[in-house]
Every structure is written in structure tokens, then in C-alpha cells.
Symmetry: C2
Subunit: 636 residues, 2 copies
Amino acid sequence: MIHHTRIIEVVLVVIALFVMWYAVVNFSTFKRVVIGRPMRSRELHEQHNKLFWLIALPILSADLYSSVAYGPEAGLTELASLGKSALWLVIPITAASVILLFILILSYIMGIIAYPSGGGAYSIAKDNFKKPWASLVASSSLLVDYILTVAVSVSAGIQAVASAYPVIKPYSASLAICCVLLLVIVNLRGVAESATIFAWPTFVFMGSMITIIIAGFFNEFAHGFVQPETPSFGTIPGGITILLILKAFSSACSALTGIETISNAVPIFREPQQRSAIKTYIALGTVTAVTLLGYAYHLYVQGIEVREDETMLSQLAEQYFGHGIVYQIIIWSTFIVLILAANSTFTGFSQLSAIVAQDSFLPRAFTNRGDRLGYSNGIMFLAGAAALLIAIFHAQTNSLIPLYAIGVFLSFTIAQAGLCKRWMKVKGSMWKVKLAINLFGFIVTAVVTAVVAFTKFLEGAWIVLVILPLLISFSIMVKRHYDKIAAELRIDPKETRPQPHDLVTIVLVSGVHRAVLHTVSFAQSLDSRAVAVYVGFDDESIDKMKLKWEEWGEPCKLVTLRGEFRSILAPLSRFIDRLEINECQSSSSIHIIMPQFVTKKWWHNLLHNQSALLIRAWFLRNKDVVITTVPYHLQK
Amino acid sequence: MIHHTRIIEVVLVVIALFVMWYAVVNFSTFKRVVIGRPMRSRELHEQHNKLFWLIALPILSADLYSSVAYGPEAGLTELASLGKSALWLVIPITAASVILLFILILSYIMGIIAYPSGGGAYSIAKDNFKKPWASLVASSSLLVDYILTVAVSVSAGIQAVASAYPVIKPYSASLAICCVLLLVIVNLRGVAESATIFAWPTFVFMGSMITIIIAGFFNEFAHGFVQPETPSFGTIPGGITILLILKAFSSACSALTGIETISNAVPIFREPQQRSAIKTYIALGTVTAVTLLGYAYHLYVQGIEVREDETMLSQLAEQYFGHGIVYQIIIWSTFIVLILAANSTFTGFSQLSAIVAQDSFLPRAFTNRGDRLGYSNGIMFLAGAAALLIAIFHAQTNSLIPLYAIGVFLSFTIAQAGLCKRWMKVKGSMWKVKLAINLFGFIVTAVVTAVVAFTKFLEGAWIVLVILPLLISFSIMVKRHYDKIAAELRIDPKETRPQPHDLVTIVLVSGVHRAVLHTVSFAQSLDSRAVAVYVGFDDESIDKMKLKWEEWGEPCKLVTLRGEFRSILAPLSRFIDRLEINECQSSSSIHIIMPQFVTKKWWHNLLHNQSALLIRAWFLRNKDVVITTVPYHLQK
């Protein structure tokens, strides 16, 4: 009759909660071990943390290049219902996305030329549009897309491993969330340190992809370019519609997310930064294009179809290398590079949110750097949101794809528009060519954005289209709030100067004991006219207290209040109100001093009435009183 | 591809969290509406809140009497595997539990004679055993059992309704948890007020049960006492074992839980309290015995078997009355009375936990009475624990029964032992008869406890037998902690008197603005030698601050600290350490004054760096400094 598994579940949850609680309570020790020694602010700008472009290439390309692992497959998934005769469409669709890739890279190089110190869509929009909404659309859509990048990349990584080891399939979501947590720890450790370590897996993955493509050509030289499983080329499959092709193209475009990484990251390059960044862009574009086209071509030749339980990459690798060591290298480097893509997104998200928060469009907390120079709050927020998405979509890449890409293309579009405006204003050498490139880029990305939004609307794009306006309104509200507060706080330092004023000092006492002794001593050190206040719930306890106080030699005047509702707050609040009326000088203020136990062990907090905390919180919020807490450190 | 149900789930969770958050933030308004106006302490003792015994009867009997709805069925469930030929065993098993019922009631009447002002197992044990463990066993087992009573009663109530309306079956657990939440609200509204309203449903349920029994006899006069579906009486079913019979008896004993309610509640009776309580016991015992025996007899005559989807009570009622209005009354009054049973348990749990907490064996927070005179923390804790049990066991009464009863019988046993000790010590009129009754009661309940623990061990009793020692050790640890603290805090009021001492006052400033103006003004009112401290993260901001301070006419000395790790805490902490060394008079203490923004809307808290809170919490815990918070109430 007993649900043993349920009980085990509950026990596990309790243990997990305990570990979390322990981590929170003993945070500094925990942090030192897991996150490492704190870094000084100036370490941020030291040259040895800057990257040579060939090292920066894999680090910054993980996001874009890793998408080849799921982009073409996402496109073909849309056409899966048409059967084998639609397989050849992988080639034109991939070709179209490669053309788009080149247009985007060219546009982004223009961006780096315009802003040599780097800057993403947000900075470009901010610089070129007076109204904040354009830059907010760019920042919000990028932030949303970064969250999706983490969710999609990690899910695709787990899916890659699950292709080789189907046994982990049912645990995909949990494993993906564990990966996200791992990334949080890595990112709280700091950016640049992780970077150099992380360059090599991407090289290995690039190598693996190139190896597959070369192996494919060897295979085709040996067995012919038309093999038994190669479907016919160019036949129009039955049931095909323009909409379906556009859908497939939209999904395939998810392979292009991550292009913006390099232009955002110009400052991390070693000098000459501008040239290095452009070099990196060209190199990355070439490698990605070759990989996409080669991979798509071999998929077609081998006639590989979309399967629920195995990725196309895994199927192709198996075709050429069997289940041996090469296959393992391909699977694991795919996994690692997808995790790295998520990792680089952490940097992108936290930097962008910090820049936006600096401009008061997001809570200031996003500008706080952690002990290791990463923006801790941004990192944590991103991880939480991505984990939520993974949980909702069960770590299914193909369920997440429809939400994806729309944000990236929206921000691309705005960046291009901003650049166009800039060229028209600044002009400069060859400005007409640059304008033409960005104008073309603008038109193309705007069309792609519309296509993605339209074709994917019902499958999930609506979620993004609902969240974006909410996020933008939130940003505007935040900005308005900060502006109001700043105006409210502003004073003229020449005119308004601090004025000492009269004080009424009240000490809350709960009896005659050592903690009260400390508090009353402190109060008398501040103000010899301090008054002690005692709240009792019945006459008996009040009389007893009066007697004790007398016995104590009446260190100061004692006022006793009767708490009829067993609440300390109500009578105290009435007493303060009366004081305010009696001492009706606008210059005097009321000062409440109260003891608070500081326990040795955290769980002892459960054993001590938290009334001190409650009283403090209530009075701070509801009355204009100053509250002083005199800690009493319990020895036991 | 999208999991729409998942999204709806998430949206619902978000809304629920928001409502909770709103309730917490606007607690006082929310409380007024849902919980009602606060009551004064003295209302607790007013006569008009005391109950006439005939009204007290249904209120205090809900717990015991409602058990007839699931007790006999729980017993027969154990025998279900034996088939129809075991059905007649319902009669001897029920008869045995009725005999046990009379023994218990007699013992409890002895208890009321011994303690006219009432008192449950805990008070009796405390009074008669020097060592605390006996009373702690009694209190802990009762507290555990109260939690189970709520879970079992509510689950059984939902099961009754689900018999009539099978459509709600899949939502049993959620509905049961909703009922628990409803009970929390009702109980936070106060005890006595709810009581009189709640008397009538129990009368209706008693009436329904008596009606069923009378209808049964009419039916049997009309159609014979042996009907076609009546199984043969006295045949030994194949496969029966002593263990199985004991198991069935143990389960049937769950019908006896709740007897202790009346003896705990003597003070709520109108005078003469002792006589009223005894009268109530006799009346209740008679009604319950008649109901149990009559109900079991008709179950046998109608040959009703245990079914997964319909309770036996529902089957029997259907047999006599069909699915008409009488059936509806029976089902709904069963439901209501089971909910009332859970309700009366709320009073029992919170009162007992308050008494135990008064003796320092549980956290003091359990002694806090809420606005409406109920013990709010006990009520909330009970509800949380019961809801957890319901969730774990999916609101399946029969899964919960094995955990049940053991606690009640354990506390019965200890109470009887305590009474025996008392009669031997106090003697008095007819003490030998009284001793004999309680000694017999002790032996019977001890045997039943052992039988329940043994026969139900694997099915769930082990959980209780693991939790009980943990709870008892916790109680002892809590008591030890409170004793240590009391010793630590004790002072001799004639010798130790408050001594004013020197203070070093520090004001934390973050710039020159209105909030800083307030804080510095306050600091200077307290101590003209106050020093302002500014923590900057780079030289630029520090120089800027120095300039601003000069421009402000240097209201007091300014110390600037450099925070290399972008943390305010680290440099501040080092500064305080240095101060402590320099001002090395043991008599002087350090006083930190800091501003804190108080926002108008709760969500604005997200927008302001909570550094003030963090600094305060850290320093209180780690340093011996006094901290003063000067609130700045934001207008916008």
C-alpha cells in the first residue's frame, strides 16, 4: 500500500533542500571551494587576459559553429512528413542559409568598422536611435534569445549523447538541468580563465566535422556519388507547400544564431582588436559554410532521415566509422561544443544585461560583479530561466527551435537599421557601399524575421512575441522608476546641509536579563533620557516586570504597555503614534533600540522568537522611526 | 510540438505564487478579510464562549464518531483477499473494537475524575512521571497522530464524495489539500466561533447513520434476516491466519481514534465541567457503539464487499435508498463530518503543541496566539504536514491507515500508566477500583499498541516508529538549548547594572543625496564625532566622492575605502577590525549607521540594491557591532 518511491523522492528533496540551505548559510566557505579566490577589479583589464585571435576563434565561435549540429536537422524535421523524396531539399535549404550567413557576416563586419571598440545590436541601436524603444527591442530580443540558446544547446548536447547511449534518454531533462548548474559554477569562476581551456574542444569538434566531410568524399569516390540509398534529386515531393519550405528554412536558420558573439566581444581581442575581429569573422564564416554545405551534401547522398531516437549527425558518423573510437570522439566533441556554446552565451547574457542595467533599463543588481569578475546576478538569472525552459520542454531540441531564432533575427534587423542610419549621417569613405551592404542586410533579416514569426507562430513563436513587449514595458518602467528616484534624492549640496535634531530614544525590553543589560547600557551611552518600554499580555506579567525593574534600581524610566491582542506591534504602534503627537516638533525623530539574539547554530534561529525581526520590518515600512539592533551573541 | 498543458501548469503556478506573495505582502488587509477582526485575550475566558454539553457532544465527537465511516471498512480491506466467505468476520472484529471502546471510555472517565480540569496524556504523564521521556512519548505520538488524523479524515471525506461522483477521483489529492487549506483559514478565525456552527452537521451525520441502521432493520423485517446476498456465518475462510485477523483488528481500531478529544477539552465545557464531560463521554460511547455494531451487522446481511471505487457506506446507503436525496444527505454529511473531524484535530494539535512548547520542549513560536486566539503556528505546521502526507499517499485512506492508530494507542497506554501511578500514590475513595480499571486499560492498550506496531510494521508503521524517536530527541535538544540560554542570560539584578560606555559612530554613505542627508543628520544628533565612510570600487569614484563631500562643506570627517573585490563588505570589515584594535578600550563599542530605502511598492524592492540588508545581516552575525537603520521612505 505504501508508495516507497514517493517516500524516496521526498527524502531526496529534503536532502537537496538541506544542501542548498547549507550552501546558503555557509556561503563564503562554499563559494571559496566551488568558485575560487576572488579577483581584483583591475585584473579585468590586464593584457594577459586578452586573447589572440586564433584562440578567440574557437571560443567565440562555439555558439555559431555548434549550431551545425542541429540546424540542418531542425530544417529537415519540418519536411519529415513528406518522406524520403523530400530529402534532397536539405541542399537548397542549407545553401540558402549559407547565403544568409555571408550576408550577416558582411553586415557585422560593417558593424565592427563602424564601432571599432565593438558593440552589439543594443549599443548600435542606442547610438543611432533617439527613442529608447529600438535599443530595447534589440536588447530584449537578444536576452530572450540567449536564454533559448542555453536551453537549445544543452538539450541538443544531451540529445547527441543520448543517440550513442539511448539509456540516458528518459533522464534528458534532469541531465540538461545539471549541465546548466555546472555552467553556472564555471561562469561564476570567471570568464577569461575558462576561455583558454575551452578553446580546444571546439577545435576538436571542427576537426571532427571536417573529418566527416572528407570521409564522405572518400566514401563517394569509392562507392559512387549516387549510392543505393541516395534519393532522387529535384523531384517535387507530394504534399509540399511554400509554407512548409519556409518553415524548414526558418528552422534551419537556427544554425545562424551566435553570429553576434564576435562583434559583442571585440574588447577581449589582443591588439589590433578591429583587424583581429574581422579576421575571426572571415575565418569562422568560411569554416561554417564549408561544414554546413558538406554536411548537408553527405546527408543527402547517404539518404539519412530524421529519427526520433538518434541525431542525423550520429547516423552519418555511424555510416562512415561504425561505433568505434572516431564515432565516440564525434559524439563527445559535439556534446562538449554545444555545452561551450551555452557557456559563451552566459558571458553574452550577463554582459548585455549589465550594460542595459547600467542604462537603468534593468534592475541595478545586474551590474554587480561577483568575486571572480563575472556578473553573478545575470549568470544566475539566465541559468534559472534556461532550466525552466528545459523543464517545460523536456529538453526536446525540436520543441524549443520554434521559439528560437526570432529574437536573434529581430536584433539583427535593428542593428542593420541602426548602421544604415549611421552611414547616412557620418558618411566617410565608401559610405555608399557600406550603406548598400547594411541596407540589403536589413531587408533580408527583416524578411527572415517576418518569415520565422509567421511560420512558427502557432508552434511557439507566439510565446516570444508575448514576452518581448512585456520585457520592453518592464524595462521602460524600471527606467522611469530610477529617474524618479534620482530626482527625488537630488539635493543642492550648497544649500541643504545635515542638521542635528532632537531624538526620542526608546529601548524595548522583554525582562531583566543579560541581553537587556547590553541594550540598556548601549541606549544610555547614546542618550541618558532613554525610556524602556515593556509590552505584557496580562496584568500579572506587567506587575512582575515592574517589580523586577525596581529591584534592578530603575536604570531608566519604564513604560509598560498592555498587548490585548497578544501582539507586540499594536500597542507599540499606538505608543509611537502618541509620542509623535506629544513631541510634535517637526525636527525630533523617534529612535527604537532593541536587542536581537544571534545564535551560534543556524537552526537555533527556529527556537527564538523572531519578533525582533518582525517588529523591525513592520516599523521600517510603516512608521518614520530609526531602528537600532543591538546584537546579543549567544555562547551556547 | 509544444506542451500546452505544461505551459498552462506553469502559468497557474506563477499565478498561485503571485497570490501567495500578495497575501504575504499585504498580510494585514488579507488577514482582516479572510480571518476576521482580532479578539482580545480576555475573550478567551468569557463564559459565552463555553459550551453546553449537548452542543459540545457533536463538536468533540466529530473525530471519534466520523471514524465509523472508515474504521470497519479498513478492517475488512485486510480480509478482502479471502473473498466473500470472510465477510462475516466484520461482526466479531467490530464487536472487539466496541469492547475496546468501552474500556477506553471508562479509563478516560477515570482520567477526568483524577484531573477535573481536564488534561490529556501529556499532562497526566508529566504529572506522574519524573523523567520527561514518558510525557514526551505521549505528546510526540499524539502530535504525529493528529497530523495523520487530518490526512486520513480529509482523504476519507474526499473518498466518500468520489463514491457518489467518480469524476472527481483523479483529483482526490488536490481536492484534499484544498480542504486542508480551508481548514487553516477556518481555524485561524478562531476555535469557539467555528464550534457552534459546526455542531449541526455532526448531528445530521449521526442521524443519517441511525437512519441507515433503522432502514436496515426495516429491510430485514421485510426481506428476512438472511437475504440472498448474505454470506454464511462462522465458516472459516480458506487462507485465514491469526496475523490476518490481527491486521484486520488493528485497522478496525482506527475507528477508535479521537476518544481523547473530550478529556483534553474539559475547560471548554460550561460548569459543572467534570460532570458535563463524563455525561458527554457516556453519550458518545453509547451512540458510537450502537452505530458501529448496527452498521457492521447490516454490512454483513447485505453481503457488501470492499470496492476500490466506492466506499462500503455508499454501497449500503445505495442498497436502501438508491441514488436519491437520502443518499445525497448521507454522502455529504459523511464528507462534512470527516472534515469536521480534521477541524477538531486542528484545535487539539495547536493546544497540545502550545502546552509542550510552554514547557520548552518545542520551539516557543508554538505558544504565539494569533489574532483570533488560535495558536497560528501550530495550525500552520499541522496543515503543512498533513498536506505533505496527502500528497505522498495520493489521498488514499487505506494507504494511510497503517501509519495511524499506533500513535494514539501509545499515548493511551502512557496515560493509563500515569493514572495507575497516581491512584497508587494519591489513593482516595474507591482507589482500588479505579486502579483496577486503569491497570486493565493499560494492559489492553499496551497489547493493542504492540499488535498494531507488529502487524502494520512493513506497511507503514515503521515510518511512525522512526519519526517518534527523532521527535523526542528533538524535544530534548530544544529543552536543553532553552535551559542553557536561560542560564546564560541570567543576571543578578542587584549586582549587574547597565553601564554607559564610549561609542565609535560610523555612517555609511554612498554619495551626496537626500537619503545620506537624513542619515548624517541623524548620526550627528546622536554623536557629534560620527565619521562618514565611503566604499568605492575605483580611484575615479573615490576622488569624485571626496570632491562632492568638500562641496557639501564636510559635515563630518570622511573616510574612503577601496573595494578591490567590488564588495562593500570586505573593506568595511577590515576597517572595523582596525578600529577595534585602535580603540582598544573594552568598554567602547562600534555603532554603524546606514540608510535604507523603503519603497512604496513591493516590487520596487527588486530595483534597489539590497546591499544595506546584506551588510546588516553579515555584521550582526560576524562582528560585535550595533547597527542602526535610518529608513528613507521613497515617495515614488
